[in-house]
Amino acid sequence: MKVSYFAWIRERIGRPEEEIAFPASVVTVADALAHLQGLGEEYAYAFEKPGIIRAALDRKHVKPETPIAGAGEIAFFPPMTGG
């Protein structure tokens, strides 16, 4: 699955996107985030406050409990500050 990062999450991880094969145990958006936390120091740092991280599946806002099955892309980003 394509995984994208934005703003300081992208900066902390060091890349804007990557392909990640999530194990079958990863069912929801929250599971995906927890999986990423375990991929190394930079991921642990980027996701150290999971409560404030927002996520989108196929470019639509989703909640932590949303299942990721069937989606082509998941994105993680900080609270938005546009406008």
């Binding site: 900080p78 609270p79 938005m80 546009g82 406008g83």
Partner: protein, 152 residues
């Protein structure tokens, strides 16, 4: 049904042209409310803001917000433009304009779109300081999240 126009671009825009485009060739519009969001220098501290966005999702999310506004109020036109990239103090960042037969739906729709755009459109602002320091990300304001509550 109101025509929705959404643009996400690095280039500057001209509010006059956009206001004129909403009214062009029609005489049923009673009022156009517009919001122009500008880059502040934060008391002289900032040299620029750098806006990062999520390509694709930015257009789609702002279009969804505009469609929701059109479904709530009787509008004759709705335009939303958001820039990305580096913007100097005093420069244009965002523009929203709502046209309607009367002023109330135009005011409500423009404010609704701005409220949701602030907290739902995937943009992030990074500060470039006049002291050369680059890298502080602007934090989301609780106030902006609270502003959404009244539209429920």
């Amino acid at each position: 049904m109101a025509r929705i126009k959404v643009r996400i671009q690095p280039e500057d825009f001209d509010p006059t042209v956009e206001i004129a485009a909403l009214g062009a060739g029609r005489a049923d519009i009673g009022g156009i409310v517009s919001f122009l969001g500008l880059c502040r220098d934060e008391g002289g501290r900032l040299a620029a803001l750098e806006l990062e966005h999520y390509p694709g999702m930015a257009e789609e999310e702002i279009t969804r917000i505009c469609e929701e506004a059109v479904s709530r109020w009787s509008l004759l036109g709705l335009t939303a433009i958001h820039r990305y990239g580096k913007i100097a103090p005093g420069g244009n960042i965002v523009f929203v304009a709502a046209a309607a037969g009367h002023r109330q739906p135009a005011f409500a729709a423009a404010e609704f779109v701005m409220d949701f755009l602030k907290s739902r459109a995937p943009f992030w602002k990074k500060e470039h300081g006049r002291d050369g320091n680059i890298g502080d990300w602007v934090e989301a304001r609780d106030q902006d999240e609270q502003a959404l509550m009244r539209w429920r």
